[in-house]
Amino acid sequence: MKKGYKWVFLSLVLLFLYLPIVVLAIYSFTDSTSIGVIRNFSLQNYINLFTTPELRNMIIGTFVLALVSATIATILGTLGAIGSFYSKQKTSNAISVMNQIPVINADVVTGFSITILLVVVLKVSKDSFIPLLAGHVTLCAPFVYLAVMPKLIQMDSGLYEVALDLGATPARALRQIVFPQILPGVISGFLLSTTLSLDDYFITTYTKPATFDTISTYVVNATKGSQTSTKTALWALATVIFVLVIVVVLAMNIKALRAQDHK
């Protein structure tokens, strides 16, 4: 295969992935209300994005929800992984199976089942945010478990025993020996949880209170409505998130590349 064709193909796929977002980004800097007509350069969309209380609250709410769910999910998932790792094989398998269910399940089913349990059977009000939080944590925690478990398996188990022999309490040994070794897994689990929570639509739709919106639910409903100023403000939002993601991911990777070079 000629080298040229390879790169053409790669660029085409890259184009497919990025063209819509880039076009949206370009138009977010104009005052056009629909794609196809460029009028003038304008930052109005960004101003609207950051000054409309509705949009601002919605964005803040989304991030707060993500961070809180990710935190709880990380704590639960990490503890769960540790507990499961040190349990008997049978228990460990049982926990793994239960853990795998939300992972393979469709979001719609997870959200639907939690709503039925909490709202219909237990009559917990959606306005208490409990169903919403429970839904998000259920979505995220299993992935934390899956991220931490391999690190536990890779861990040098002898060190824990050595620490005990040297007089440390189990708690201290856990804190200072085990935890640092699994920390990369915990962190990646936390990051994955935030991503999942930020992106989620279905669980949120079924469990959220009527007046709360996340970015996903807001965008999906806004595209049905008629407000053009909101529509274009969302273009600005898409651009902002896009830039943020690029910056973060590139920074992380260039750092990793440099670290590799130094090795």
Binding site: F9, L10, L17, P20, I21, V23, L24, Y27, I35, G36, L76, G77, L79, G80, G83, S84, Y86, S87, M98, N99, I101, I104, N105, A106, D107, V108, V109, T110, S113, I114, I116, L117, V121, V137, T138, L146, A147, V148, M149, P150, I153, P170, L174, S188, L192, Y201, Y206, I215, V219, V220, L234, W235, A238, I241, V245, V249, N253, I254, A256, L257
Partner: protein
């Protein structure tokens, strides 16, 4: 009962959490699926589903969309993953990040962007609902297919390739008999991440003017009509499909070290 502080008991909160928010909802789903409105046991929800050409048709339609999406994702993702994983570039890990990066942008924003571009090209999206839905799903899930295949190919022991070359195999044979089979776990992982969500993500269809239901929207409509029984049965059927699929595609996990690398 004295709960000693042991490492394995750390898992208790998580086990409780899983029991309440994963196992209980499933039990509730089973309950509702096999009862009617007054709580009596009945199989009619099940038989209704399989005798109604509309619900069966929905299952079929969902399969059709999912299968087509998976197909297109594969033919786009595999070459991308292969070209990048086998290239000698140092910056290839950055480039693969570029392909995977859209995963972190909220899918509703990405679909909005795609919708604008498609509207620019087609004018009225409602004329080609199936095609547009497949395009939308492919656009949404392509990064999810690229990553596992890339990871699988990248982890191949280069010695194997060299050995094959030494034994006289040309490029094509090497690919077909070494690379492809060994990359299969990654392919299967990618398929799992694309096929099942595309059967349930009805937001993509909604936003791209496809009025036909898929399994996800069917559940949603039962939910909106307060028909917990019918909805639960559909949820269970979906779960069954997912379980069968997972069973058919999991190979024995001998290599736990790589199990959790999701990022």
């Amino acid at each position: 009962m004295r709960i000693h502080f042991t490492r394995k008991n750390l898992g208790i909160p998580y086990v409780l959490f899983l029991l309440i928010f994963v196992v209980m909802p499933l039990l509730v789903l089973f309950y509702f699926a096999f009862t009617n409105g007054s709580g009596e046991f009945t199989l009619t929800n099940l038989t209704d589903f399989f005798t109604n050409p509309n619900t069966l048709g929905t299952l079929f339609y969902s399969f059709a969309i999912a299968a087509t999406t998976t197909f297109f994702c594969l033919i786009l993702a595999y070459p991308v993953a292969y070209f990048l994983a086998t290239s000698k570039l140092k910056a290839r890990s950055v480039i693969i990040m570029l392909f995977v990066l859209p995963m972190w942008i909220n899918f509703s924003l990405r679909i909005t962007a795609l919708k604008e571009i498609l509207t620019l090209i087609q004018g009225n999206l409602a004329f080609y609902p199936f095609a547009n839905s497949v395009i939308g799903m492919t656009y949404d899930f392509l990064p999810f297919m690229i990553l596992p295949i890339y990871t699988a190919i990248e982890k191949l022991d280069p010695a194997l390739i060299e050995a094959a070359k030494d034994l006289g195999a040309d490029d094509k044979e090497t690919f077909l008999r070494i690379t492809l089979p060994l990359s299969l776990p990654g392919v299967i992982s990618g398929i799992a991440m694309v096929f099942l969500p595309s059967m349930t993500n009805y937001v993509v269809l909604d936003m791209l003017y496809n009025s036909t239901f898929i399994m996800g929207s069917l559940i949603g409509s039962y939910f909106a009509a307060d028909n917990w029984n019918g909805g639960s049965m559909i949820a269970l059927i979906l779960l069954l499909i997912i379980c069968i699929f997972t069973l058919l595609t999991t190979t024995k996990e001998e290599d736990n070290k790589d199990g959790g690398n999701l990022l």
